[in-house]
């Protein structure tokens, strides 16, 4: 069909452009604005060029937060994805168990993030918390307030508890869309349980897994509330992830310039990593 060109059509996209401008682009520009200027108060700003960027990129503190954050994301992905698949595979496909399981799975997702933090903060306390008290009375030297390893274990357990359900629900959705005929054919072909998983279930979950990995990676790379409530980034800086660090610089120290520069760098890193994930996984998909 012949396409007609009419520049008036641009008016059609105007509302969306305005919405995006006000909700994303303009606020982002103010951040850009801060990141290239310095101020000594009184609302007087000086052009500062790329100084803040250089400062952030050269600071050890930034890179340490980054490494901590990457280790955190890698760990929770390594736990939540296989665990989520495993649970989804073992969930009932029909009967009364389905709604029960779905509701149980959805529960952690419905709890506000700071409440999740509070729950685990209390749960892990050695004086009154169920987990902390039990562990210490069993003779384990568990104390997430003083011990960096314990703090890490607590934060990771909390994230696994909070977010594995998301992976489960996504995988479950992928699994129930597989017609019975596939399982019947596999039986007739004499496929083992592993072969059924490898050649039927995994390929069918491919797409939802891509989404799950992307969502969990981005979320965990931006994590703030829960570890902040539980550990406040401590002990020391051991659980200070990028966004906790960012807030410390911006609100704690009120260094708007470096904080703005860090925000931009942070944003670009997430954008880049998400793009890499997406490209890699869609390419793998296309090859198959």
């Amino acid at each position: 069909m012949e396409k007609t060109w009419n520049n008036k059509a641009w008016f059609m996209v105007l509302p969306v452009l305005l919405l995006v401008a006000f909700s994303a682009v303009i606020p982002l520009m103010t951040v850009v604005n801060y990141s290239v200027q310095d101020t000594f108060g009184n609302n007087v700003f000086f052009w500062n060029g790329s100084d803040w960027y250089t400062e952030i990129l050269e600071s050890e503190r930034f890179w340490l937060s980054m490494v901590r954050n990457l280790i955190f994301s890698a760990t929770i992905l390594a736990i939540e994805i296989p665990l989520g698949i495993f649970i989804a595979l073992n969930m009932p496909k029909k009967g009364w168990g389905v709604p029960v399981c779905l509701v149980l799975m959805a529960l952690p997702l419905l709890i506000p993030w700071n409440v999740v933090g509070t729950i685990w903060q209390v749960f892990g306390r050695i004086d009154i918390g169920l987990l902390g008290y039990t562990l210490s009375s069993l003779g384990f030297d568990y104390n997430y307030v003083n011990d960096p390893t314990d703090a890490w274990v607590t934060v990771i357990l909390m994230d696994v508890w909070h977010w594995t359900s998301l992976v489960v629900l996504l995988c479950y959705a992928g699994l129930v869309s597989i017609p019975d005929a596939f399982y019947q054919a596999a039986k007739i072909d004499g496929a083992s349980r592993w072969a059924v998983f490898r050649y039927i279930q995994l390929p069918k979950m491919n797409r939802v897994l891509l989404i799950a990995v992307l969502l969990r990676f981005m979320d965990s790379f931006m994590i703030y509330t829960e570890p902040f409530v539980v550990t406040g980034g401590g002990p020391g800086n051991s659980t200070t992830f990028l966004s906790i660090d960012l807030v410390k610089i911006a609100i704690g120290q009120f260094d708007l310039g470096p904080a703005a520069a860090m925000s931009i760098i942070y944003f670009l890193i997430i954008l880049l990593l998400s793009w890499v994930f997406y490209t890699v996984m869609t390419n793998v998909d296309a090859e198959r």
């Binding site: 017609p179 005929a181 596939f182 019947q184 054919a185 039986k187 007739i188 072909d189 004499g190 496929a191 083992s192 072969a195 050649y199 039927i200 390929p203 198959r288």
Partner: protein
Amino acid sequence: MARIDVNHVRHSYLPNPRTDADFALREVHHTFEDGGAYALLGPSGCGKTTLLNIISGLLHPSHGQLLFNGKDVTNLSTQERNIAQVFQFPVIYDTMTVYDNLAFPLRNRGVPEADVDRKVCETLEMIDLASWAKKKARGLTADQKQKISLGRGLVRSDVNAILFDEPLTVIDPHMKWVLRSQLKQLHRRFGYTMVYVTHDQTEALTFADQVVVMYDGGIVQIGTPAELFERPRHTFVGYFIGSPGMNVMPVAIDGRTATLGSQRIELPGAPKAGSGAVELGIRPEYVRLGRDGMAVQVSKVEDLGRHKVVRAKLEGRDIAAVIGEDETLPADPKMRFDPVGINIYADSWRVEMEA
């Protein structure tokens, strides 16, 4: 290859079936001969897929026994029964190549790789996909995928039977014909026992040597396509097979004469006494329209290209007749029944006539 005996098999999907209505399969007792091509024909929900799944072992029958070559296999798993089954929607392993798809059932059974290669190459030739061997299976068309499903059955030379569950549903009409004739060819060359479930009479009649017509959880007639057409044992078979289906009308019988309203119809013989309502069945192909016979009112004529279907009223009842494409109706047509095509039914079941 095997002879399959279905021994008084009943099946219900309910845990505690009480009445006959609770059974999806009321009672089937039948032998599928070794090397035969059978079609299970019937409307949706008549139990034909249930029967097929019982044969393949995907379902365990509530009652009854299943024998392969005289050996009881009722409690054996699908895999142990060594059956191939092709489903309504093509089942292929997306991530594998065509070659690997066909090799899959063999590799699962631990066949040495050299034999796998030989068998797979043979099968690829048989199903005409040799040039696609190295391609990913997901890019294929529906009919090619369905051939792969079939190929995964053929690749195992020792399969007891190949079962088809409405395999051509998602195939384009022109490919249906091609695939069907390829199936027939395979059957002739290799002599597999094949059972083919369908609700399409053309498919059933062209594929099978023996058509098993099922209705409401039971078998109503087993016969060659010609038998089903000429001598339907049950009025359902008359309706279901043929297009349009058989004309069935209530009559009163007196010796060699049937009375329909004010009309008297000569029968080829005297029907044996049967119980229940007596009906006369005649296929539209045996209804003649001409200048003498019973008075009818023609309501419309459908031209189907190859022939015409005349819809008319005889004694106030709808009746269909088939006439040649070039025939024209006389101004005031009269109807006659060709005695060869007349069947008499008592309580819906056919009764024999004494010559």
